[in-house]
Symmetry: C2
Amino acid sequence: MRFEVTILGSSSATPIYNRNPSAQLLNANEHCFLIDCGEATQLQLLQYGIRAQRIDHIFISHLHGDHYLGLVGLLSSMHLNGRTKPISIFAPPELKEILDIQFRYSQTELRYPVNFYPTQVQNPEMIFENNDITVETIILEHRIPCTGFKFTQKKRLPKIIKDKVEGLNIPVEYIPLIKRGIDYTDKTGKTYLASELTTDPDDPKSYAYCSDTLCDWSYLEQIKGVDTLYHEATFMQDMIQRAKETHHTTALEAGEVALKAGVKQLLLGHFSARYKDLQPLLDEAKTVFSNSYLAVEGETFKI
Amino acid sequence: MRFEVTILGSSSATPIYNRNPSAQLLNANEHCFLIDCGEATQLQLLQYGIRAQRIDHIFISHLHGDHYLGLVGLLSSMHLNGRTKPISIFAPPELKEILDIQFRYSQTELRYPVNFYPTQVQNPEMIFENNDITVETIILEHRIPCTGFKFTQKKRLPKIIKDKVEGLNIPVEYIPLIKRGIDYTDKTGKTYLASELTTDPDDPKSYAYCSDTLCDWSYLEQIKGVDTLYHEATFMQDMIQRAKETHHTTALEAGEVALKAGVKQLLLGHFSARYKDLQPLLDEAKTVFSNSYLAVEGETFKI
């Protein structure tokens, strides 16, 4: 099952050096989830050949413009390009008002339903699930209400061992039953134990998106053991005071979070416009957490 | 005096084929005026090396997203990049509400004053002037209230004829007086007539921006004789019905407007996503008005 994230924007508040504001596309078993939607996200989707209409769920962390200003344009284009299927938006409640006023004044009546699910910052909650994944909010500590999102695969059924079933001529419709633990008996009456025809499924993977936030460890428990952590790293450690004042995180701190949370890989993003060269930020994070990567535009990471 | 327009976006409602939504930068004697501000305008400014902070006046034609969705991002970046000097915005009154709500929820207090001047669509009016130009609204006919903008250079003072003043050792501070028609008498008592030292100034030039509009000729009188006309040409003539329904103009009609208005050059823009190749639109306009050009991203036109 595909479970990967493509970076559409890596910049913090002001875009620069071909870095766009925050947006990511998570593909979970061919279902596309958009995480944040900074200005020009629809142009980034075009650039990377991703069909916007595949997106059915949009998650907005908070209402600083660099995380949502591309939303009205994206929703409008979906409308103009003939969308009829619903879209779900999970975001701070005030976003509804921001969307409504703009569609009202442009006299736009979207041809498709927008299901709006307001998020809250009192406590984490599960806000979505389908057959493949669940999504929970992560309460972050920013200047305005802000949540991260944790995407967790559901435990899957055991996998069929191809070598063992080959030649047994098992009817196709019987395969899901074997996966569920039901033994198979062939025409001659010979029984094959389901436990011998299958092997354990892959461990469920998880992805946590943490942007924007002060590094105050309050969310550590919630992201413990995730496979891939995206964490903002707006500044380097020499700017720690500025990071604290603006409720952001340094690259070093992001590395420490990854280490303490015991994650497998760390993606760094939301880079300040002061850094043209991002290598020093990566190097800094790697001093504490070696499996760190720069989450820059166009990169796709397997979770 | 520089008087030229740089195209930042040529697309109609949905961006595609590397075409961005509407935005143009008019440079009038080194004063920068932004006309419309579609999504990603700030990224286009970066791409073409234009310093956003040079913009002091922004003109928004109407409240369809492809003409203003880049504004909050641009204003935010100006703020974050340390702007303190005021900016003036001329736009439909409802835009103020759209801006206010977004800055309120993002808890952004801009460090510079925003002077907001609401436009109206009852009658054309002069909305701005400085030493070099005046700006008037043009009442257009679109699905929602919409104005174009006409930028007209003021009549300038006569120009000094260099060959004639060379060798006369005229004190520098006397030059503006000669331009104003005051004769010059040198130390020996010899008088030089101002009329002989000067020549007529260049004719004042004018630029009209007409987007978006039904081609109903109602604004023809107002744009008569402008030097450069930017006119939307969303569709080709075989889509005339669609153009009428959506209150847009065809390339052929845009050519006819230019012809009837007696303009010197026509810039075509606001192209529908249905046209990948724009040459047929240009060809169509040229069948009635030969001095037509495609106003595409990055092109600069002298007015």
